[in-house]
Symmetry: C2
Subunit: 439 residues, 2 copies
Amino acid sequence: MSLIDHTHRPDALSWVASANAADTDFPIQNLPYGLFRRAGSNESARVGIAIGEQILDLKLAAAAGKWSSAVQVLLQPLADGDLNTFMAQPSAQRRLLRHAIFEALLEGSKQQAALSACLLPQAAAQMAVPCRIGDYTDFYTGIYHATTVGKLFRPDNPLLPNYKWVPIGYHGRSSSIGVSGGTVRRPLGQLMPPGAEAPVRAACKRLDHELELGLFVAGGNALGEPIAMEDADEHMFGVTLLNDWSARDMQGWEYQPLGPFLAKNFATTISPWIVSMDALEPFRTAFAHPESDPQPLPYIDSAKNRAEGGYQIELEVWLQTEAMRAKGESATRLMRSNFKHAYWTLAQMLTHHASNGCNLQPGDLLGTGTQSGPEANEGGSMLELSNGGKQVLTLPNGETRSFLLDGDAVGLRAYAVHEGARRIGFGECVATIVPAPSL
Amino acid sequence: MSLIDHTHRPDALSWVASANAADTDFPIQNLPYGLFRRAGSNESARVGIAIGEQILDLKLAAAAGKWSSAVQVLLQPLADGDLNTFMAQPSAQRRLLRHAIFEALLEGSKQQAALSACLLPQAAAQMAVPCRIGDYTDFYTGIYHATTVGKLFRPDNPLLPNYKWVPIGYHGRSSSIGVSGGTVRRPLGQLMPPGAEAPVRAACKRLDHELELGLFVAGGNALGEPIAMEDADEHMFGVTLLNDWSARDMQGWEYQPLGPFLAKNFATTISPWIVSMDALEPFRTAFAHPESDPQPLPYIDSAKNRAEGGYQIELEVWLQTEAMRAKGESATRLMRSNFKHAYWTLAQMLTHHASNGCNLQPGDLLGTGTQSGPEANEGGSMLELSNGGKQVLTLPNGETRSFLLDGDAVGLRAYAVHEGARRIGFGECVATIVPAPSL
């Protein structure tokens, strides 16, 4: 953990009081990036940094704060609402800005007076997708998810032979990626009812969430030039929560032989704040395949990856039904898991993606796949929790679910936790299901 | 064919003499859009229209020509190199510009003197990907391709049960789409050698082309709002050639269960000129599934689609090996086919894509899948022509191929041909294979 530095000091406090609350997602050790505008305004979006319950508005901060000329250069595109240009910066430059913001928000900073006027309460902001996402790829690194889902289709052979060799992934849809806080419309689609001889067009009956993380790419690679495993970290910008909404009945009918398409591309929801790789540095952990499993081929293996390629990030899915909302009842937690269970690391995903020369670009998004834990109650989707729809879940208020119903709000949460480090959070990734269009 | 108008008159001639040559791809009836800069210059790219061997530079033409104010408004984004804004225009606006350009380039036009100064020889231009492609989707509408490829994997059951109900598609990679005239680097990847117990990382040994057309989306749809089949034409901008380069050995090992990924995303080549749907109007043809096949579900069926949803477009693949180039020998034709064999129409592809509410955007690209004909020598890929690599093709100069070798240049060609209409062409979609990076 060579990059642990004073911005990770667990006792560091900010002059923004809400950042010092024990349960905040956004202490001064976090400093994630997001794109926002004042709610109800039609001003152009600008980049901000979450601190406690506030947002440091980088457009205002670039003008009001006192910054070195190097930092001022980095702030300029951010002030203009362009996160991609900053993402493309070398990691040393990105770290330079992190340090400058950390110092400026630290208790006792001389910048407090000037920057106090650059804060906007998060409650008064409308968040947007944080950057231009050129291409979105979804991986399949959750081995417990892959095994459970595989069992539903192939009881004797749940994991295909390539799974433990290839970080399996496929391309997803960029245009339908939305940010937390919105709605997701139940899709219409072709379904093949059990026992039927012909498919029908109908509203999806097996609507599902998938609990994932999303890795944003920093600097890219030129077409035809693979990225070496040793260089992977340099190309990683940060992480969000990602809900890969899935229409299971559409998926079952359409996905052979070319993979998921309309069953997935109607919506993907991400959390608005990108937690930087720098902020996640204290939560790195050793990574290894079980000894009885194939070991990674050299192009997706490195000493650093073995030593600290993993990240300890606790993951949760919450559900609030319409009935709960009507009665003022808060959401109920459906499951917990941890990203440490992933079969492939973020660095392996990224390196494999570019290993054929595919050009990654700043702002590209790589989903991790559903992060289920090893236990039956740790499934990251309803498909798993309901055993393919065969068992209903009973919620604390007596309602039952096998898949999601209209009015259900699904929220993902995540926390990076490690002994001796200040816990940091990812904010919320929530969206509410609204009914399908009429046929 | 209600939209046939005087811009399709087969006897119309242009004052640009090369546009009147019998074998030109770009007579005045075509008028396709492309993005170019003067070769060797570092000026910003601008939109042009191909006419014979020339390009009408719309930046110069917007300033030098005499246009109605409505046309001038349409020209402005094009002059700035922004095709997407024009693509988003309603079809009536797009047709308005086509008519204005047609009149201006017509023999006897009063604009000849002014616009003569706005021409650049195509030989002096460097073409670029013509628009911002937000999302790229690839379909699988070539039933002869799907059947032949399916037979290689499943001799008794080549077509999966969904094929004749669902226009099968999957998401591809936008970042690696390049324009004709460049190189494609042979990818490195994971391969599972026959009989081996573990995969290896190696250069692809079964590199292949795929002969496709690409449909560019015009105006999009809002997320959650499907497009009605009756409205599909309004959302279609135009068509290019598309070579979906494929690494068959990587594909066989990686594609289960989520579809092609690194076997496809290292490169896609398109032709530089987008032939507009307006130009293709005379080549529409009736469309029907065989009576013994399932008929399309209502959401992807319409009277218009049955009457004229098809397009008669002749398709060809050409190969020039390094040895041929060294001896000054021209390329040899590998196969011919016709887009009329496609099992789903462009309108069905587009409508199905949006049928779950997935939001299409101006400039999105939809590949048709490989367009093979019914005969064994009409395969649109080497995989088909070599029967999965089991038979070698002997070229006229005595060389043999089962898959593509370094130095091979693969070119796609296409012509829309119909009795009583002026033949129009698609230009060239060619790229040359260069060796893989060293391991």
